[in-house]
Symmetry: none
Subunit: 153 residues, 2 copies
DNA sequence: CGGGGAATTATGGGATTCAATGGGATAATC
DNA sequence: GATTATCCCATTGAATCCCATAATTCCCCG
């Protein structure tokens, strides 16, 4: 199961550690770096999280742009430079650096929010509000989605 | 793991040495030259850094251009002629030559800035400003990126 | 259906390791 | 001989490992 689903709320201990939800750890297993890559969302008070494999694909995509171009530099400065490699300890925890805590306004509780291929890390309170607003926007706009590919069950 | 991620700020000692971040050293391991290749960015007050392997690829790319063309000559002059091989000492440090320090206006603190397949070396203060501008440009232009490769993470 | 383990997960804290840094001693270079 | 580079070791603070315990979920059997 390689999907990040559901929302989990865990505690930040006094060393700055949090348990990554077990199902997220499962989704991350088998990657070349045992941990998560996280960077500040540039639109939200939240942290974007994913496995290193997806990051590698992002890097390959950026490599298709012109080397030394402004676009390439801007993207790498906001994504790669800002991202942190947070490795899992033996008990499945990471330590969240202060920079990320500040950006997401996280104090003692941490929400891990599944988004399919990636996930986000929030202050639980702020996420609840955000989710409510998102639901309303979806309803107003009657947003829909086209399905790709085929089922294989 | 062959990606340069995150930003690390280390100190320049009075002998002109800096520690290369451990995760960068990991990304450089296994290459034919144990150290980094660095040259002055021709657009920014920064130093471009990478492993020797990527330098080889850059050389191959330049080889695709017309021999003796002006572009080819300009590129080789600004990149290959300008680059320095900085070897790692036993403790994972390099010596930054004065030419590079001057160009990047580095005094006592050095920022190693990950860019995926490569990295940059900055004066931390200057990079912070640059990163802020880059973030804004990304937002304004709604710069996006198509993900390459297959979707199975 | 429901209770009682058994396994898994989350969390707290002590002990250990490792990265970054400073500096002395030795070797190479001009 | 002076300057610069390399090697080696000491220190410190942070990250990691390791174990203990608490909470939760799962599962089997009554």
């Amino acid at each position: 199961m390689k999907l990040f689903l559901s929302t989990f709320i865990n505690k930040l201990d006094k060393k700055g550690r949090v348990s990554v939800p077990a199902s997220f750890r499962l989704a991350l297993s088998g990657q070349s770096f045992q941990g998560i890559v996280a960077f500040r969302s540039y639109k939200l008070s939240a942290v974007e999280g994913m496995g290193i494999d997806r990051m590698q694909r992002l890097s390959d995509s950026v490599d298709q742009l012109d080397l030394f171009s402004e676009t390439q530099d801007d993207l790498t400065a906001t994504i790669f430079a800002d991202s942190q490699m947070l490795s899992l300890d033996g008990d499945g925890r990471i330590i969240l650096p202060g920079l990320l805590l500040d950006h997401a306004k996280i104090k003692e509780e941490v929400a891990f929010v599944g988004r399919g291929a990636t996930f986000q890390i929030w202050n639980p309170k702020l996420f609840e509000e955000h989710q409510e607003e998102a639901r309303q926007r979806v309803q107003e706009k009657q947003a829909t989605l086209k399905l790709r590919g085929s089922d294989e069950s």
